[in-house]
């Protein structure tokens, strides 16, 4: 069953159209990875799906148009872990509890006992209880990324969008963050924007490959990540083979220098 349907989407900034006739769907409880070169429209897509950027076309959340929904309703449906939010000198507990904003009115601003427990439960589950009484500015990059994910989950969304959650993180933290995707996908459907093709292949159920604002392919990693398609979209030669451990496609870059050497050696051998 589809949780999100995107039909003939056009969006951009002023005169400049970034997304051109984009159509795809997001199925319940899947992890959909979005890949594409810089400027292909990944972050614009995140902004449209969160309701931030105006668009032409249709975005449906469980068959209801996003345009029909109130701002707080959208925030109860979709939460976003953004790429580089500001980090004020705010306490982590305060920051996490802001995830409940969409569930409160102007006069009703106190967290209920249940909500306090939710903040504690989520923090415990993600192993950040020890950070609750620290300031955001005191956290490392990985800790802050985790805090962002916990805040988004405290929002109790049906649909979680993560815009490059592994950017600027070391491999330990990259794997830690992406491992959590597997654990939370029973509760929430995830759209994750990634730059690393191999991480996307390892952790995503399907891949949406964007090229120049259009959809190149939406399919399972084995079908979507073929070498000719990666070369076409990213403009670099790659070799794709089947990862013998994970049984997912694994791509590695072939530098032009080596490619030229091999070609010359081939010619010489002939």
């Amino acid at each position: 069953m589809n949780l999100v349907d995107v039909r003939h989407l056009f969006a951009g900034y002023g005169e400049r159209m970034v997304l051109k006739d984009v159509s795809f769907d997001v199925q319940c409880h899947e992890v959909l990875g979005v890949l594409g070169p810089n400027g292909s429209g990944k972050s614009t897509l995140v902004r449209v799906l969160s309701g931030f950027l105006p668009f032409d076309g249709e975005v449906l959340f469980e068959k209801r148009s996003i345009r029909e929904l109130e701002r707080r309703e959208v925030a109860r449906f979709v939460a976003v872990v953004s790429q580089s939010p500001l980090r004020p000198t705010m306490g982590v507990w305060e920051y996490l509890s802001m995830g409940r904003y969409a569930y409160h009115g102007v006069w009703d601003f106190r967290l209920s006992q249940r909500e306090r427990e939710l903040v504690e439960e989520m923090s415990e589950r993600f192993g950040i209880t020890h950070l609750l009484y620290r300031l955001l500015t005191e956290l490392s990059g990985g800790e802050f990324q985790l805090a962002q994910i916990v805040k988004a989950l405290i929002q109790q969304p049906r649909f979680l969008i993560m815009d490059e959650p592994t950017a600027h993180l070391d491999i330990h933290h990259q794997v830690m963050i992406l491992d959590w995707l597997e654990k939370i996908k029973a509760e929430v459907t995830v759209l994750v924007v990634l730059h690393d093709i191999n991480l996307a292949a390892l952790y995503c159920d399907r891949i949406l490959l964007l090229k120049e604002g259009g959809v190149e392919v939406v399919d399972a990693p084995e079908k979507a990540l073929r070498y000719e398609r990666i070369e076409k979209v990213f403009g670099v030669p790659v070799v794709v083979f089947d990862d013998p451990v994970a049984h997912r496609p694994h791509a590695y870059l072939v530098p032009k220098r080596i490619l030229q050497q091999n070609t010359e050696e081939g010619k010489n051998n002939e």
Binding site: F52, P88, M90, W93, Y101, A102, H104, Q155
Partner: protein, 337 residues
């Protein structure tokens, strides 16, 4: 380390104590020589006479104006700083004060020529809203652009608007009659002395209502600290809230300027000082900034009255010097950390 409730209550207690002390001194000291004990006795006895008149008709309105204007300016600074997630923003740097001052000048010079008898706060509000409108129109561009230089653009535009308003004020000074000239100059220097009794209830009410509204919207102010986009993702109706906060900041600034003229640095210094001490939770920052701002301006006014007694300095001079030195101290402290 995040702070607990007891810490915030302690800071609030200290702020209220400071404000009470400077308030008592402000009511008790002055060139007439009526001291603390005498002032208190006159107050309690309620007898008619010169001493009581000085207390009730001069010192009390001045103190109340100081509290209201200080609170309003600090709150306007806090709101704008949170809205733009930038500690250097305040009504002056964004040109709102310039607009309000220009409005007052036009009211004094042109209004008198043309025979338009509007209260000064109407002129001040008109000028403030005009300049804020220009800034707001620019801020609406952001949603449809990826410009990360948006904030610096806004600040630059605000500075340009400030320069523009200064130039225009000079222009009206050149056109003004001798009688109006003094009024405009004393306005631009800022003083609690010129407080108009008619305006006082208005300024007091606007400040208190502004504080209550800002406190009710403390979660939205907190959300804006994460950036406009993050606030939107949390469910904040960003465009509506931006309008509410802009209007609130303009109204608070315009009434403060109509009541006491141009008083700089209060809106910059007080919120930054409290942010350094208690962090960024507006649930506490709003009341602290409001009470602390009032206390700070009353204290500055007290200094303005005693530094070269029996003569008086405009309070804007004291806030400028004291505010500038303290703010540099905060920045240097931050750099050292």
């Amino acid at each position: 380390m995040a702070r607990n409730r007891l810490f915030f209550l302690g800071i609030l207690g200290l702020t209220i104590s400071f404000t009470v002390v400077v308030s008592v001194l402000s009511l008790a000291l002055g060139p007439s020589g009526i001291d603390v004990v005498e002032a208190f006795r006159l107050w309690m006895e309620g007898k008619e006479g010169l001493g009581r008149d000085i207390l009730v008709k001069i010192r009390f309105p001045r103190w109340l104006l100081g509290l209201s204007v200080g609170g309003a300016l600090s709150l306007a600074g806090l709101i704008l700083q949170s809205l733009f997630a930038n500690p250097l923003v305040e009504p002056y740097t964004l040109g709102i004060s310039g607009g309000a001052t220009l409005g007052v000048c036009i009211g004094i010079v042109v209004g008198k020529w043309m025979g338009w008898q509007f209260p000064l706060f109407v002129w001040s509000l008109g000028g403030g809203f005009l300049f804020m409108g220009i800034l707001y129109l620019l801020s609406r561009r952001r949603r449809n652009s990826l410009a990360t230089i948006y904030l610096s653009e806004m600040l630059l535009l605000g500075l340009m608007l400030s320069f523009l308003s200064s130039g225009m004020v000079m222009f009206f000074l050149a056109l003004a009659r001798a009688a109006d000239l003094h009024q405009i100059i004393s306005w631009t220097m800022g003083s609690l002395e010129q407080g108009r009794p008619v305006l006082l209830p208005w300024i007091g009410s606007v400040s208190v209502v502004g504080c209550v509204v800002a406190w009710l919207l403390h979660r939205e102010l907190n959300a804006f600290l994460l950036g406009e986009e993050e606030a939107f993702f949390l469910g904040v109706s960003v465009e509506v809230m931006k309008r509410v906060f802009f209007v609130l900041a303009v109204v608070l600034t315009a009434f403060a300027i109509a009541g006491a003229g141009v008083i700089g640095f209060v809106g910059l210094l007080v919120p930054n000082l409290y942010r350094k001490v208690v962090g960024t939770n507006h649930r506490w920052l709003v009341p602290l900034t409001f009470v602390g701002g009032g206390g700070f301006l009353v204290g500055c006014d007290l200094l303005a009255r005693v530094v070269i007694a029996p003569l008086e300095l405009p309070v804007g001079v004291i806030t400028g010097i004291l505010g500038g030195v303290l703010f540099m101290g905060i920045l240097l402290g931050e750099k050292r950390q």
